[in-house]
Subunit: 270 residues, 3 copies
């Protein structure tokens, strides 16, 4: 069982080590992803040029790959940086945005999973279900409302690709295929902030950069991000103020807030 103290230690480790994060992401989420990374204490660099992605990935604390706006050029950027990261022992986080929306996205994600060693996959239920070959009624890049057992699906994905799988939603599910955690922090305004899932993926990368135990890293990142959202949501009237307040709360997160609000537990394997 991961302790609340561990979530606090990892939050501090990100702030102290200020890991360089190499992020290749979509144009919608790129600004919030950079601001959120800065807010938790990391140092993001959003580089896609083939001439430099290998160099940057190899010296980074973590690499985050997000398929929200694929082009032939960016797919190649992801493969080049991913191989360089794997070679250098730099953890790679994958965000399979809209994997259930088109065959093209699903095939690209599968290619990335087949070629690269992925530390953490973070997606919504529709995306993770797509990786498992399950129908989830996803609509575009939004989660959809499937009725399968998302815990079982997440564990299957984790075991198949030897990775930690983090499923974001009203409650988050984090699993390495052996141990599984459920996180109950969060706020209903999250889905109204475009790229809030993408930013979650970047924060997973920030925590993976400071902990070789990726299950712990993912649980800590998820709880801390969800607490910031919960506190932001309590101060907001709508999605515009939520987005701004979320950035403040990520920056203002403290040991005391984590102790007071963290709501997570280990769940029995499905």
């Amino acid at each position: 069982m991961i302790s609340t103290q561990r979530l606090i230690d990892l939050m501090r480790a990100v702030r102290e080590k200020k890991p360089l994060l190499h992020v290749i992401t979509n144009r919608v989420a790129i600004n919030d992803s950079a601001n959120g990374a800065l807010a938790v204490g990391a140092s993001p660099i959003m580089a896609e040029a083939h001439e430099e992605v290998e160099t940057i990935a190899a010296i980074s604390g973590a690499l985050e790959l997000n398929i929200g706006n694929l082009t032939p050029y960016s797919i190649q950027s992801m493969l080049l940086s991913g191989h360089a990261a794997n070679q250098a022992g730099v953890p790679v986080v994958l965000d399979p945005v809209g994997a259930g929306a088109t065959e093209f996205r699903l095939q690209t994600v599968q290619k990335l999973l087949d070629e690269l060693d992925i530390a953490i996959i973070r997606g919504n239920a529709g995306e993770i279900a797509a990786l498992a070959g399950e129908d989830w009624g996803a609509k575009g890049v939004d989660a959809g409302e499937g009725d399968g057992d998302i815990v079982a699906i997440a564990e299957r994905v984790a075991r198949k690709w030897h990775t930690v799988t983090a499923v974001s939603g009203a409650a988050d599910t984090i699993t390495d295929g052996q141990q599984t955690y459920c996180i109950k922090n969060g706020h209903p305004l999250f889905p109204y902030m475009t790229g809030s899932g993408c930013l979650n993926g970047v924060i997973q990368a920030a925590y993976a950069a400071v902990s070789p135990n990726y299950l712990e890293a993912s649980v800590a990142a998820s709880v801390n991000y969800a607490i910031a959202g919960q506190l932001a949501g309590e101060k907001c009237a709508g999605p515009g103020s939520f987005r701004q307040q979320l950035m403040d709360e990520l920056y203002l997160l403290t040991e005391e807030k984590i102790r007071r609000y963290a709501a997570f537990e280990e769940v029995a394997r499905s």
Copy 2:
């Protein structure tokens, strides 16, 4: 004459149907466009890859094409998705950003108008005047200050391309070439928010997705967006807070607010 009740019904229809919106837009406005779409209740997907744009356009409630950052690749994305949308009966909204700024933009817009069946064209006065071959003194992507009869110009554009034309400005003009509406809601801070016109175009698409009467859809989208801006502006000191508050007000729009604030009227044909 369109009734205020109709504006309310369409606002509700967007929230209930949560239409998938396929948006191909510029890098400046892309984040606000996605957040604004979510705030009104739609589900945006910003896809440009040639491998998937046809699939996504065909299953969407509407397609929105914005030429703010053209590349050879994105022009092809627009044509592929536009033809797929036309084929599937999905309405297409076109935003001719900066059409008066360069010959290249004007030619691209004309190509899109010639090849595709466009439900609604939304632009500022300078852009719509450029489509009509009128000089409007536009500067870059800003409207400029022409002294022509914008109602007559808008009606000409609408009739030429068999489309609804929505001209945004201090007052908005919406016409299908037969019936013309003038909308007086809005706020002087709108032009200080980059991409506020682009977001207007996306909201036009959200409403077109729920109403086959595109004149009604465009008037409803325009009035409701302008009311949200008016309410946001009253609470703000400058453009930074306006932008945030606008997103909140789009989300918080109610039947009561529409009844209280809607200021639109049919105008005689020029």
Copy 3:
């Protein structure tokens, strides 16, 4: 010695002339850069298409080139627009984002500096040090913490490329290689806002568009931007609210605020 009155005159000149700014920048900063340009009174256009960049650069008040997200296509856009601007006497501002991070960025910046006549180079200490061939311990796109004499380095860069060099940091250093100014306004939240340096570069361009004395333009832009940040910071709890408030303060800047807060001085040449 530049007077405070001159800072005020240039702020007003930007608002009165509303210069068209042609900006080629990275995807992270592009939205804030456009909003910030609007907030100070300029009219930004973010055009990259090869078919139109020369036309737009030639009619603009200034051109700003930012290398934050290089692609082969955007490098060519920068060269085409840069040559057109030089030909037309339009000042060009260069922002060498992450020049110290990879050999690829450094070579690209040097190519731009060799081929184009640059009015102002704006970067953080790590970036300017990289141009001077100094090691500064830069990490990615963040400044790093070198211990060289940044004034001497900035003067060297200014003299080598016959340009004004503006180094942003806790204090800013602005020099044309002969006269050097130090600016002490600012706020510790600036580095937590991604693209805050990029926006600084755009504001340098807005001021260069209204003053052929680029040293004055750069000092005025830097002081006014730093005052806006200082006032924003005093009202904020974290980086999310800082970003919003900064846009408001740029828009709300007055003669009185500049007189009250401007903190800059000429320093002896190193």
